[in-house]
């Protein structure tokens, strides 16, 4: 048994010490932080005013035109960074067809957007037409602004036409709402912002993602470590000292340790970052314990499968076609997570809970999204997972024992089946 420990120790240290590992360890947090900082920077760095968006407007109503001019002026005053330039386009005589002059200007490029107010907009009728021609991607958000400003101008004019004071109306509409989550005891009430609710949605996902990274990410190391030992012909030296099972078990344990370390590191970092940002995340101790158990079982299952795959292949490339179906099972929860998070006790979630490779991720997601999952379901999922683990180890050990010494052509499925039947 202690030989398994020796193998695990080497596997752990060797993986942790590689540069690629350190890079990948830092890569995702750095990437996340970089994206946040950059997007913040982008908003801040828009100090120089953008070139004004030239808006051609055709309105048949004098009153409306004045109001629009006022709205544009107000916008430009409050948003000096993204000015709008109003270019009235006089309506030609033959209404109601939209003026072709404006469209022509748009095509020539002297306008960025051309708006036609058609019909009786003041009388709660009529339509705003927004014409564009080869819109630049950089102006897409500005177009939204133009729409908002114009729509607001129309609404404002309508209030006036009906004789309602807008300020009064807004006072009527203003009903403050505060969301408060009760703690288990008195005095532990927590106010929840909108963001907080998003967090409640994200925490289960983050948990599942950590499990995913911990399992699948480490799986890559497993494959490359086996392929390395096979290609550099170390394997026979190793097997003269330890049994194939000890080698496999040591590898799985060592890499599980690495995965656990990564998960703890990222988990703590994410928790710390969230807390610093003032987002409260509560994670029950039971969730952490379950998460740990599911992770370890899931990792053993997955890496046993990979050990089997790795042992029959000679190159990383060869492993990829065999990895595909295994990876699919892991990707399903990643794709389906919004459905699963919204309905953690739904049919899909229930069924996937008992598909062993997916069990850890699904169960962690469910447990994190909804605390009231019947203990029987948890117990059953552990049972199914444990059986899956035993079957995977049994099969992988048999395949590993024979496959690891084979070079050259990859054995076919029939040959692998024959190995499984051997004693």
């Amino acid at each position: 048994m202690w030989k398994i420990g020796k193998v695990a120790q080497r596997e752990f240290l060797d993986t942790v010490k590689t540069k690629t590992f350190l890079l990948s360890l830092l890569f995702i947090p750095v990437l996340v932080v970089a994206i946040i900082l950059l997007s913040r920077k982008m908003i801040e760095s828009e100090t120089g005013p953008r070139p004004p968006v030239r808006v051609g407007v055709t309105s048949s109503s004098e009153e409306m035109s004045t109001r629009i001019a006022g709205a544009f002026a107000a916008h430009n005053e409050s948003h000096p960074q993204s000015p709008l330039a109003l270019r009235p386009v006089p309506a030609d005589g033959n209404e109601p067809s939209p003026p072709e002059t404006g469209k022509e200007k748009l095509r020539q490029g002297s306008l960025d957007v051309y708006v036609v107010l058609e019909g009786d907009l003041e009388g709660k009728d009529g339509t705003l037409y927004f014409y564009t021609y080869k819109t630049k991607a950089s102006q897409l958000d500005a177009l939204g602004t133009v729409e908002r400003v114009l729509r607001d101008a129309v609404i404002d004019r309508r209030y006036q036409a009906c004789g309602i004071d807008r300020a009064v109306f807004q006072e009527i509409q203003n009903v403050p709402i505060r969301r408060i989550e009760l703690g288990p005891e008195q005095g532990r009430e927590k106010e929840q912002s909108r963001g907080q609710q998003a967090v409640r949605m994200m925490v289960p996902f983050a948990f599942m993602y950590l499990i995913f990274i911990g399992i699948v990410g480490m799986g890559q190391h497993m494959i490359s470590s086996i392929i390395e030992e096979k290609n550099s012909r170390i394997i026979e030296m190793l097997l003269s000292a330890i049994s194939p099972f000890e080698l496999m078990a040591g590898k799985i344990l060592g890499l599980a340790g690495v995965g656990l370390a990564v998960m703890v590191l990222w988990g703590v970092a994410a928790y710390g970052a969230a807390t610093r940002q003032g987002i409260a995340i509560d994670i029950g101790a039971d969730l952490l314990v379950y998460g740990l158990l599911y992770y370890i079982l899931g990792f053993v299952l997955f890496s046993a499968l990979l050990a089997g795959v790795g042992s029959v292949c000679n190159t990383i490339k060869e492993t990829q076609s065999l990895m595909m179906p295994i990876m699919m099972v892991f990707i399903i929860p990643m794709i389906a997570w919004p459905v699963l998070a919204r309905d953690p006790n739904g049919d899909l979630a229930r069924v996937l809970s008992y598909v062993p490779p997916a069990t850890p991720m699904i169960m962690v997601l469910r447990l994190a999204s909804s605390p009231d999952i019947w203990w029987g379901e948890i117990a059953l999922s552990f049972l199914v997972l444990a059986v899956g683990v035993l079957v995977a180890i049994w099969a992988a050990a048999k395949i590993f024992r024979t496959g690891i010494l084979m070079y050259g052509k990859r054995p076919g499925p029939r040959e692998v089946l024959r190995w499984l039947r051997e004693r």
Binding site: S240, A241, I242
Partner: protein
């Protein structure tokens, strides 16, 4: 007690019988040569001895214990396909393989530097394996094999791919280990290496024993039919003699091979009558010749 006992060991890979009822006993403290052409089942047998693969039938015991027991910690094994972790340092590789063989930290602390000194790699202890030259790599491989101070050393084709310097080093090491009373089993298809080093030899072909014994025993069973001759005059008439199979010039001498069943004494009688004889020497059969005779020349390589 024998160091290795193989009793009627069989192993098939699919339809191919790699080892077919092999029975070999290796006494302790000897150098035992495992000879045979390529594909004879040598590597398979050695792997079964090391419990890397399991026999279909038969029993394998090391020092009287089953091969799958901790007795393997007393054995050093160097496979034909060799490799070490390229990213690990030289000292770390030795420590790792030593620890897998059950060595304690204290033993490792003593043995690793000692071996690095012995193979002249002490200065490179902190280098990564991939930075070593090929020759250094081979030496390190050998040190990793014997780091656990094994009582039995099993070497699969140890001389293949070695440069001449390392070949000499390996021969010396084998010699030293023999003097220390260790048992060495090595496989080779290079006959002259076996001839030089081995006390006992087993020749296998197609997974079964063809001949087994000490070098002298094997030689005794295979009398030579080659006579090295030096005559004072031209020996052209030799070819016409009924019991001569072939004549090969060898410098001033010539090698005369007799037909099967012929007695070299008959040749000598004839020669005495027809020419003045300077040298008449019945050549000891080389293992190579014995092999060719037993297995058929097609499989055997020399050198």
């Amino acid at each position: 007690m024998h160091a290795i006992e193989l009793e009627n060991v069989c192993k098939s890979f699919g339809p191919v019988r790699a080892v077919d009822g092999l029975t070999v006993h290796v006494p302790q403290g000897c150098v035992y040569g495992f000879l045979g052409p390529n594909g004879a089942g040598k590597t398979t047998t050695l792997r079964m001895i090391m419990d890397i693969i399991r026999p279909d039938h038969g029993a394998i015991r090391l020092f009287g214990e089953p091969a799958s027991s901790p007795v393997r910690n007393r054995v050093g094994y160097m496979p034909e396909e060799r490799g070490l972790y390229r990213k690990m340092t030289v000292a770390a590789v030795l420590r790792y393989f030593g620890s897998l063989k059950g060595m304690t930290a204290e033993q490792l602390g003593r043995q690793v530097p000692a071996w690095l000194e012995r193979i002249d790699l002490a200065a490179h202890a902190r280098k990564k394996v991939e930075e070593l030259s090929r020759g250094m790599h081979q030496k390190l491989q050998f040190a990793a094999t014997v780091i656990n101070d094994p009582e039995l050393v099993i070497l699969d084709e140890p001389f293949s791919g070695l440069d001449p310097v390392n070949q000499d080093m390996l021969r010396e090491l084998i010699d030293t280990m023999r003097r220390e009373g260790r048992t060495i089993l090595f496989s080779t298809h290079v006959m002259h290496e076996a001839e030089r080093l081995c006390d006992f030899i087993v020749l296998i072909n197609q997974g079964a024993v063809v001949v087994n014994g000490t070098l002298d025993e094997i030689r005794a069973g295979h009398e030579s039919r080659t006579v090295s001759l030096e005559l004072e005059e031209d020996g052209g008439f030799l070819r016409t003699l009924p019991f001569v199979a072939s004549v090969k010039p060898d410098g001033r001498r010539m090698d005369v091979t007799l037909r099967e069943g012929a007695d070299p004494q008959d040749l000598l009688k004839t020669l005495v009558e027809r020419a003045r004889v300077r040298v008449f020497e019945i050549k000891q059969p080389s293992l190579h010749e014995i092999f060719v005779r037993l297995v058929g020349g097609a499989h055997v390589e020399d050198r």
